[in-house]
Amino acid sequence: MSGSATHEPRQLLPALPLAALFLAAFVLPLIVLVFISLFRTPQFLELSPIQYVKFFRDQFSVTVLLETLLLGAEVAMLSLLLAYPIGLAYLGSGKIGRALITFLIILPLLTSSVVRTFAWIVILGRDGIVNSTMLTLGLWDSPARLLYTWGGLVVALTQIQLPLMALPVINSLLRLNPNLVKAAEGLGAGRFRIFFTVVLPLTVPGAIAGWLLVFAAAATAFITQTLVGGGRIVLMPSYIYQQAVGVQDWPFSAALSLIFTVAVIGIVFLVGTTSRRFARGIDAV
């Protein structure tokens, strides 16, 4: 009855506190940020779009942005690869198994990301669990550098952000009509064919939702990026922090923040719409 066509003011009333919070805590600071970014110098003299020109002319800054987006995409992809087996295991489990899987997925969310990040430092360190195991087993002859590497960062972020992917994927899998899988099986399809022709296409919305959540979370994960990536890997969040706090160049860091925000939202929007169009494309065949 309360269709999208009728927007009675009273119906929107309960959303008001959230809207006010959103306005005060997100939109207003963003406007201030836009304003700050338009100054020519850190002394706030003279308006000019020079900060944006400076960013796009600077190979280093552009690379930092691209690498940050790449990190988000890699973490999201790896999470996606891991989420489906987890989801399928969940689907195939009994009550206890499902409760256990849910618990294991939720568990990381109950600990702070700082704690989880430190756990990864312990695991990936030179004297960490991975290195000492491999050395003890004689598989490696010297400790490998895992911490403060790109690969280590991707793996750690994937573990930390995995719940954001696993939950929507499981939700989509649960909503998948089990008879469709049986129908495919009865028609002679093997497991892989069933997965790729039936399960995957029909759970794409969940996968995309998860992908976008993980992408945005991983690209902006300041703490984990800093602690697991170290000072060696420069990514947008730490670059912004450094330019604002270390260099005290507020206009440039404001411009960095806005470019980063626009890039992340842009990718989220782009992936969201193209995948939806793609999904419609499948439908329209």
């Binding site: 005060a24 304003f35 003299l45 030179r126 911490l147 270390g246």
Partner: protein, 347 residues
């Protein structure tokens, strides 16, 4: 358009915050002082807080913050600053004074000022230095058999992949780079030789830490065996049983002077002065010097003990031996240096 930075910051912050979330009305019997996060904060809470309460009857609430974060917060609320006393290394003190948020120190009213050596008094009349952070070479004595004697030792090929560094965002990294520049024919304003030297150091660099604290932690994790670092960090880790030792380079350890400064428009000028006097007092400085804090005192009457004796015989000896840098010369250049370091020093 010519808008002053502080007016702009003040307005925009007020705009962003709506009404402002800062605590504007702390009672006059309480002051707010900042500390640095970590052991510094613990030491001040444990030692300075009680001593101040006893000597003045007031109380102090401590807020751990990094030096650079403090300036912005005061600027955002100049008429009712969120802190009464702020803590600065030499570097961030320069822009803090420039931005006009600090008040000069009423030396004539102070009880403790007489005990502070000239090197620790501010040339322009701001509050004096209350502790010194010494920068030297930290190393793992189990892996590095001959204790290093000079900054150049970091370049030794035997330390390939075992050296840790940190960027110019910290006083630590900045002081190191300036020393390296001086060592290679540069100066406090000519950093070029330091960047060239860093390029040669890269094969040795095993990790670039995001902060001095993270650099110290790298020893604990066994990621690195040698790095420039603060004496205080090393002493604290060594006391915990980590394999780490400290060596002063033959050119002298660099001393970074930290001072507690008075914020303009603070709520209780009398209590603030009492607080600074408490921090400079013999009793407090002696307690901070002792284990487990091992902070370097600046009150010349405080004798050095324990681990501190291994780096200097007395406060006067400390002043005589240490390298002091003129941060006013290069602090304005630091922003550029930080960005350049991030771009050029990559492994």
């Amino acid at each position: 358009m010519n808008l002053s930075r502080r007016a702009f910051l003040g307005n925009s912050a007020a705009l962003a915050a709506g009404i402002g979330f800062s605590d504007m009305s702390h009672a006059a019997t309480q002051i707010v002082a900042t500390t640095y996060p970590g052991s510094f904060d613990e030491a001040f809470k444990g030692v300075v807080g009680p001593a101040f309460a006893k000597s003045s009857g007031g109380s102090v609430s401590f807020t751990p913050l990094l030096g650079v974060d403090q300036i912005g917060k005061i600027q955002a609320s100049r008429n009712a600053p969120p802190f009464d006393v702020v803590l600065f290394d030499e570097g961030p003190l320069v822009p803090a004074i420039e931005s006009g948020v600090l008040e000069k120190f009423p030396a004539e009213k102070s009880k403790g000022f007489a005990d502070i050596p000239q090197a620790f008094r501010h040339p322009d009349g701001y509050a004096p230095v209350i502790t010194v952070q010494l920068i030297g070479i930290a190393y793992n004595p189990k892996k590095v058999k001959t204790p290093p004697t000079s900054w150049e030792d970091l370049w030794k090929p035997e330390y390939k992949g075992r050296v840790g560094i940190t960027g110019l965002g910290s006083s630590l990294g900045t002081a190191f780079m300036v020393e390296i520049a001086k060592m290679n024919g540069g100066s406090e304003t000519n950093i070029e030789p330091a960047f060239e030297a860093m390029k040669k150091l890269l094969p040795n660099v095993g990790a670039i830490a995001a902060s001095p604290g993270a650099l110290a932690a790298l020893f604990q994790q066994g990621e690195i065996d040698i790095a420039f670092n603060y004496w205080n960090n090393v002493a604290l880790l060594a006391a915990k049983g980590v394999d780490i030792a400290f060596a002063s380079p033959k050119t002298g350890a660099v001393a970074v002077r930290s001072s507690a400064q008075i914020v303009k428009n603070n709520q209780a000028p009398k209590l603030v002065l009492d607080y600074l006097d408490a921090v400079m007092s013999f009793e407090v400085q002696k307690a901070l010097e002792a284990s487990p804090w091992v902070m370097m005192p600046t009150n010349k009457n405080v004798p050095l003990t324990g681990a501190n004796l291994t780096v200097a015989k007395s406060v006067d000896d400390l002043v005589a031996k240490s390298v002091l840098l003129d941060w006013t010369k290069f602090q304005p250049l630091r922003g550029e240096w930080i960005t350049r370091f991030t771009k050029e020093v990559r492994i």
